[in-house]
């Protein structure tokens, strides 16, 4: 079976993206001070990446697991986590 990238895996899932409101917000000034950036390794969707030395995050493919929230050394300050608004976000067809 051929190897799938995170993007390809997320492409299999059904999302209803909330264009008006991102459910996870980053305070990047805190992220800049974070050396380890565990979110970039631990996010199962691989949504935290480093671009031009700065953290970049796309909420659109979020699987809503909460891993980034729990591994963030400044959780609640650097990563402000919530579920998407009702009805939005990932919609597992199998689960």
């Amino acid at each position: 079976m051929k190897r799938l990238s995170a993007e390809q895996l997320l492409g299999l899932d059904k999302f209803l993206v909330d264009d008006d409101e991102g459910h996870i917000r980053l305070n990047k000034e805190h992220c800049r001070e974070c050396a380890a950036k565990p979110c970039t390794i631990a996010c199962p969707a691989g949504l935290y990446t480093i671009r031009d030395g700065e953290i970049s995050f796309d909420y659109a493919g979020c699987l809503e697991c909460g891993t980034c929230r729990v591994v963030c050394p400044k959780s609640g300050v650097a990563i402000i986590w919530n579920y998407p608004r009702g009805g939005f976000g990932v919609q597992f067809r199998y689960g």
């Binding site: 079976m1 190897r3 799938l4 990238s5 995170a6 895996l9 997320l10 299999l12 899932d13 209803l16 380890a36 565990p38 970039t40 390794i41 631990a42 996010c43 199962p44 969707a45 691989g46 699987l63 809503e64 697991c65 909460g66 891993t67 929230r69 729990v70 591994v71 959780s75 609640g76 986590w81 919530n82 579920y83 998407p84 608004r85 009702g86 009805g87 976000g89 990932v90 919609q91 597992f92 067809r93 199998y94 689960g95």
Partner: protein
């Protein structure tokens, strides 16, 4: 407002929430079951198996109507080390006969069915609603706020899953640590039913559950799992979230590596991946249990950390269902007294103690500590796979008796006999 007031508002239409809603509604109570997903189950995932006992007491012979996949008749635990794998493989045909021991299932379908049972009983189900906050008066929870809407109840039941925003807002639980939870990732891989039955040596309709320990997690605390559904397998990895931070590979790549191992390839060959999902799992057992009751509020299911991982057995849904049942009984008792204070709702804790929920979590209180032992993920799988492989290897070399083979493999796998003795004793008495 009185006419708008519910006996209970239940946040989250998973197994805990829907069970509580159904039992309260059966007794004629006004119940509002709120779900943030477009329908119940769309936000939920798990490894793959429900132990039947808890639900069978509430909905006798539920399997006659519930969307279950396969009755698990084969249990496999596999130690992995590079090209070597050693399995304990147990088949019991009785498990696949009534009263079925356990079922694999898919949550989108199953949770929707269970919520529909709550609706049938008279509960009001409201989907597409994210609860944003709790309402309180004089320190007692009186309802919930969702966007602009406020809704009132005698009791709010937080059954909103492992991230448990509601219990945290109520001040009943603190944010858990990464060490206390694990991250699970899973792919659903479609295969024809006959192929599944051939590959896992199953009679028609039977299912298999396989757990893996060893280099599938590359030394990180955790393991792999595979559950057979009717026409798909659920394949995944669970890794302690604190360990995952120190992984050299990103989480989705760990699973792709596992998929490409020579032990997994023949099981999924020709299959098609149709979904990828992830979820947190509360793994610290009773050690991470929040206060499960407060003034006007109860906490049930994953939100209360009711999950048990013994390495060879993983349970969550049966605890969720039984805690939902206990929550419903506690609300009914409080309603009889017309007292929804913390003191009155404390009966919930007593009911949990009398049920298997706290009995079992208490009995296995030290299991999470056992699971933190690195040797379980590195040297022991190496020892087991190398030793057993050696036993079956004939190469014309000098004969050695079992005793000396065991001793020499212990040396090679760097097994400290004293630590092995302690770990064995702990395993035998803690798990």
């Amino acid at each position: 407002m009185a006419e708008d007031k519910f006996t209970a508002i239940i946040v989250g239409a998973g197994p805990a929430g829907s069970t509580a809603a159904m039992l309260l509604a059966r007794e004629g109570h006004e119940v509002l079951l709120i779900e943030k997903g477009a329908s119940p189950g769309t936000k939920n995932m798990f490894g793959g198996r429900l132990y039947s006992h808890a639900l069978n007491r509430i909905i006798p012979e539920f399997w006659e109507e519930a969307p279950v996949e396969r009755a698990v008749a084969r249990e496999i635990v596999t130690f992995l080390n590079d090209g070597q794998a050693v399995s304990l493989n147990c088949h019991n045909a009785d498990w696949a006969r009534p009263p079925y021991h356990s079922f694999t299932l898919l949550r989108a379908e199953f949770d929707a069915w269970l919520a529909s049972k709550a609706e049938e009983a008279g509960a009001m189900l409201a989907c597409n609603i994210r609860v944003d906050d709790l309402l309180a008066e004089n320190g007692k929870i009186t309802g919930i706020r969702a966007g602009e809407d406020e809704m009132f109840a005698d009791v709010v039941i937080a059954a909103d899953g492992v991230n448990s925003i509601i219990a945290q807002k109520a001040g009943l639980s603190r944010m858990f640590s990464a060490r206390q939870v694990a991250t699970g990732v899973k792919q659903i891989i479609e295969l024809p039913p006959e192929t599944i039955e051939q590959r896992f040596q199953l009679n028609g309709g039977e299912g298999a559950a396989q757990l893996f320990v060893g280099d599938c997690t590359k030394g990180l605390q955790g393991g792999g799992f595979l559950y057979t559904n009717k026409q798909s397998v659920s394949l995944g990895l669970v890794v302690n979230s604190a360990d995952l931070e120190h992984s050299r590979q990103k989480a989705p790549d760990l699973l792709e590596d596992f998929k490409s191992s020579p032990h997994i390839v023949p099981l999924i060959e020709g299959g098609e991946v149709v979904e990828y999902s992830a979820h947190l799992i509360p793994e610290a057992g009773i050690g991470m249990m929040p206060r499960v009751f407060g003034d006007g509020i109860l906490v049930a299911g994953d939100a209360a950390g009711f999950v048990l991982n013994l390495g060879y057995v993983v349970r969550g849904m049966d605890f969720a269902i039984a805690s939902g049942e206990a929550a419903a009984k506690a609300v009914m008792e409080a309603k009889r007294q017309n007292d929804f204070s913390r003191r009155s709702l404390g009966v919930y804790h007593k009911l949990l103690e009398e049920s298997f929920v706290l009995r079992d979590l208490e009995a296995y209180r030290r299991a999470p500590e056992f699971m933190e032992n690195r040797r379980l993920y590195e040297s022991y799988p190496d020892f087991v796979t190398s030793l057993v492989t050696n036993l079956f290897t004939i190469n014309g070399g000098r004969p050695a008796h079992l005793y000396s083979k065991i001793l020499s493999q212990m040396k090679q796998s760097k097994i400290n006999p004293a630590k092995l003795a302690v770990d064995s004793w702990r395993g035998a008495t803690w798990l």
